[in-house]
């Protein structure tokens, strides 16, 4: 709050004291920052890239220019239309690429940026490449006036606050998972395609707003500031400033625009050629920045802030939870091939409701494949998998998660930079419903308190309360495994899938884990675990299923399985005569 007031004061002071030339420059920095804030959200945090943000700005600018000039609308009335059109354009591009990996969106925005520029220059009524002139000013805010700088400043601050709010929410946790943890987030029930579509649209809306403002600041609209090159320069600004933090959007815009002004003067003289050489300089700066300081300028200008310690409200109301206890998992006749490899060959077994079942077998026996089939990362070639009588085979992992299956990962998948609390809270994603808009407007606080309280309860359950606010990457491997289990428990699961949960744990930690699993069993959760630590398995499981060469070779209580000579051979190998 204090930072906000200070920033506002700085904007007003700048508007009052700066010479006119700099007022114009600062307005332009503000306009670019609006686009940049969206790009930080999309690129630096969401791990996707757009080269076509300028085209969205163009939609905003042309919409308001056309409606005010040809139809006599008030500029204020055109804003919703401008935003809606930019949003719809982004929606269409995003929908086509949302299921594909990130670079396809970037590639599609290249095509979009190029086509939009052509269309702006050729569609009838838009004035061709000369564009539209005499766009009316905003009432009371003449062109590049001092009042306009205050207005733009307020909008930039508002954008920073809105996106900051968004990142500090249920949806924000999902957004942060996009860059490095999509597969994990899907297994927590997050529809990552939809989340990435959401931030792409939000980024386009900020660009549209910037374009709308631009039209009224300049009074003139033509295609060239909205071409692909301009879109790429917005991205360069954000990278130079630092795509990982919201401040980077403003720093980048400031540094680039101020420098551009200088370079514009003396580069052509230096090179003995008229032309726009600034782009080349910034591009070279981007290459060097990505090679040498991927965090951009921000770390040079700001001290790295520690993670904010979110306060936990212990009295927050509990989240809605599932009715009834665990259900049985039934695997029948499941076969899965990889090319000529038969990884699972007609595997059948049952994990009883409210019991601990262990799936064991030597390396390469097909256990991981079975796990991924149950978890929805793979679909079987034939056979059925059902949970409580409902078929789940072939469903994508987020739908399997919604059916009540929670899992951990053999190679821990945590967001290393984020706190334990945030990582765990991602598991509760499906138990909240607040959307991106309510998160931006802080209408989600009651639910957010409940989510975080639930997350901290699960962290306490695995015994890591004192590390609640530490970055997950700083924890020891054993602790990270416990964090993953807490995250899975946040899903309020019917079935808990654990892939080698004891690997890398010390003896005391293993005993603690065994105790935790026993208490889960007592609360009725079905547990299926793959584990190599035989002490751990034999002392804990109610039922053991042994796999080898993709088949089940033995099943029964731990003592029965341990006495089975086939199992002994499977582990130590038959003696080669």
């Amino acid at each position: 709050m204090r930072a906000l007031a200070l920033a506002l004061a700085a904007v007003i002071a700048a508007a009052l004291l700066l010479p006119a030339f700099y007022v114009t420059l600062m307005i332009n920095v503000g306009l670019a920052s609006l686009v940049g804030v969206g790009l930080v959200l999309l690129t630096g945090i969401g791990g996707q890239t757009s080269f076509g943000q300028a085209a969205f700005a163009g939609i905003g600018a042309y919409t308001t220019a056309l409606l005010t000039l040809s139809f006599g609308w008030s500029p204020w009335l055109t804003l919703p239309v401008a935003l809606a059109l930019a949003g719809v354009a982004a929606l269409l591009i995003g929908v086509v690429t949302m299921r594909l990996s990130g670079h396809y969106l970037a590639l599609a925005t290249i095509a979009w940026g190029t086509s939009a520029y052509v269309l702006m220059g050729t569609l009838p009524g838009l004035g061709g490449f000369n564009g539209l002139v005499d766009v009316p000013a905003l009432p009371g805010l003449r062109g590049a006036s001092r009042m306009m700088l205050v207005f733009v400043g307020v909008l930039v601050l508002a954008a920073l606050v809105l996106v900051g709010n968004l990142l500090d929410s249920r949806q924000g946790r999902a957004i942060r998972a996009l860059a490095t943890g999509r597969l994990m987030a899907e297994s927590m029930g997050v529809n990552t395609g939809l989340v990435s579509l959401g931030i792409f649209v939000i980024a386009a809306l900020f660009a549209g707003l910037s374009g709308w403002l631009y039209a009224h600041v300049q009074g003139v609209v033509n295609p060239s500031p909205f071409n692909l090159g301009a879109g790429i320069e917005y991205l360069f600004m954000v990278i130079i400033g630092g795509a990982g933090s919201l401040a980077g959007a403003v720093f980048g815009a400031g540094v680039v625009l101020v420098l551009r002004d200088q370079l514009n003067d003396w580069l052509p003289r230096l090179l003995g050629q008229p032309g726009n050489f600034e782009g080349m300089v910034f591009a070279a700066a981007v290459i060097l920045a990505l090679q040498n300081m991927p965090q951009g300028l921000v770390p040079l200008l700001l001290r790295r802030r520690r993670l904010v310690e979110t306060r936990i409200d212990v009295n927050a109301p509990a989240l809605p939870s599932r009715e009834g206890a665990g259900a049985a998992l039934k695997v029948s006749g499941v076969t899965r091939r990889f090319g000529g490899l038969l990884a699972n060959d007609a595997v059948s077994f049952t994990a009883q409701a409210g019991a601990i079942t262990a799936l064991i077998g030597p390396n390469g026996a097909g256990k991981s494949t079975m796990f991924n089939l149950i978890g929805g990362l793979l679909a079987p070639n034939s056979g059925e998998i059902s949970l409580g009588g409902v078929r789940i085979d072939g469903l994508p992992s987020r739908r399997v998660a919604r059916a009540g299956v929670a899992r951990n990962f053999q190679h821990v998948r945590l967001l290393a930079e984020r706190s334990v609390l945030e990582n765990v809270a991602l598991g509760a994603h499906r138990r909240g419903r607040a959307g991106m808009i309510s998160a931006m407007l802080r209408l989600d606080r009651a639910e957010e308190r409940a989510l975080l309280a639930e997350a901290s309860r699960q962290v306490a359950r695995v015994g890591l309360s004192e590390l609640l606010h530490s970055p997950a990457g700083d924890l020891a491997l054993g602790q990270q495994r416990m964090v993953e289990i807490a995250r899975a428990l946040c899903l309020d699961p019917v079935l808990l899938l654990l892939d080698e949960p004891a690997a890398g744990l010390r003896l005391a930690e293993k005993q603690q884990l065994a105790g935790l699993l026993r208490s889960l069993r007592a609360s009725g959760i079905t547990v299926l675990l793959v584990e190599h630590d035989m002490d751990f398995v034999m002392g804990l499981a109610d039922h053991v299923v042994v796999m080898e060469y993709g088949r089940v070779i033995s099943a029964g209580s731990p003592s029965v399985v341990q006495a089975d000579p086939k199992v002994m051979d499977a582990y130590l190998g038959g003696v080669v005569a």
Binding site: G339, L341, M534, M538, G539, G573, V575, V576
Partner: protein
């Protein structure tokens, strides 16, 4: 008996977690040495560290020369070959092309006897000859292991390192492959065999090393190790059970 490969104080890990805490191991000229240990002990990491597929610290001497600073490709050029756990086949290429790629290093060093080497590999694994025109991705598990092994042999390595060649394979196929390893040793090839399948590995090898929690905890002649009750315990965990 001269040491072909000598590793001392090898440390490596992933990210911040150290997995190997100073491994000591040795392979002598013309022998099969085996590195056994339960899952998660660090066997695969050891091979990756020796082969410089992951960054590592420590001393690695090969054929009496310190090779610590060399890249994977340079180690291959000096005659070290690794058949990884994943086999790392070129699945969208033909069997024969996979084998010929095993010849890449020798080719760059001037050798042109690829046909003779192909014939040798086909003599060892007639199945590969039958399937030479098939894509590697269509092979069964056993055939993939044969191809990975054959591909490594195409480069005539001085030391062949195998990461769990028995992984996921039926006993009959494992027996065939181990018989091939035995024949290769008789032909003078040195082998470092990393296995979870301890009985089979110790039955084949001349000397063995037991890895547990990222350190070699026992080493000796394989017959002696087979009889050592500690080895069994590492696997089936009956110490506390």
């Amino acid at each position: 008996m001269t040491a072909l490969l000598e590793v001392t104080g090898l440390r490596a890990g992933y990210g911040r977690a150290e997995v190997l805490h100073g491994i000591e191991l040795m392979v002598a000229e013309g022998e099969i040495a085996t590195l056994i240990g339960p899952n998660g002990a660090g066997k695969t990491t050891t091979l990756q560290a020796i082969m410089r597929l992951i960054p590592s610290q420590g001393n690695v001497r090969f054929q009496g020369v310190d090779v610590g600073g060399l890249s994977t490709e340079e180690l291959v050029a000096r005659g070290l070959a690794l058949v990884p756990e994943t086999r790392a086949l070129f699945t969208d290429m033909r069997v024969e092309e996979n084998l010929l790629l095993g010849f890449y290093r020798s080719f760059r060093q001037g050798a042109r006897d690829q046909d003779a080497r192909l014939a040798q590999v086909f003599a060892i694994f007639p199945r590969l000859q039958e399937r030479r025109r098939q894509l590697a991705g269509t092979l069964s598990g056993g055939e993939r292991q044969m191809l990975a092994l054959g591909r490594a042999l195409m480069g005539r390595p001085a030391l062949l390192m195998l990461d769990e060649p028995s992984l996921g394979l039926a006993p009959l196929i494992v027996r065939d492959i181990f018989a091939v390893l035995d024949r290769l040793r008789k032909g003078g090839l040195s082998i470092l065999l990393v296995e979870q399948n301890a009985r089979a590995a110790l039955a084949l090898a001349d000397h063995g090393m037991v890895l547990e929690m990222g350190a070699v905890v026992a080493t000796g002649a394989s017959a002696a190790l087979s009889a050592d009750p500690r080895v069994l315990e590492t696997y089936l965990g009956q110490r506390h059970g």
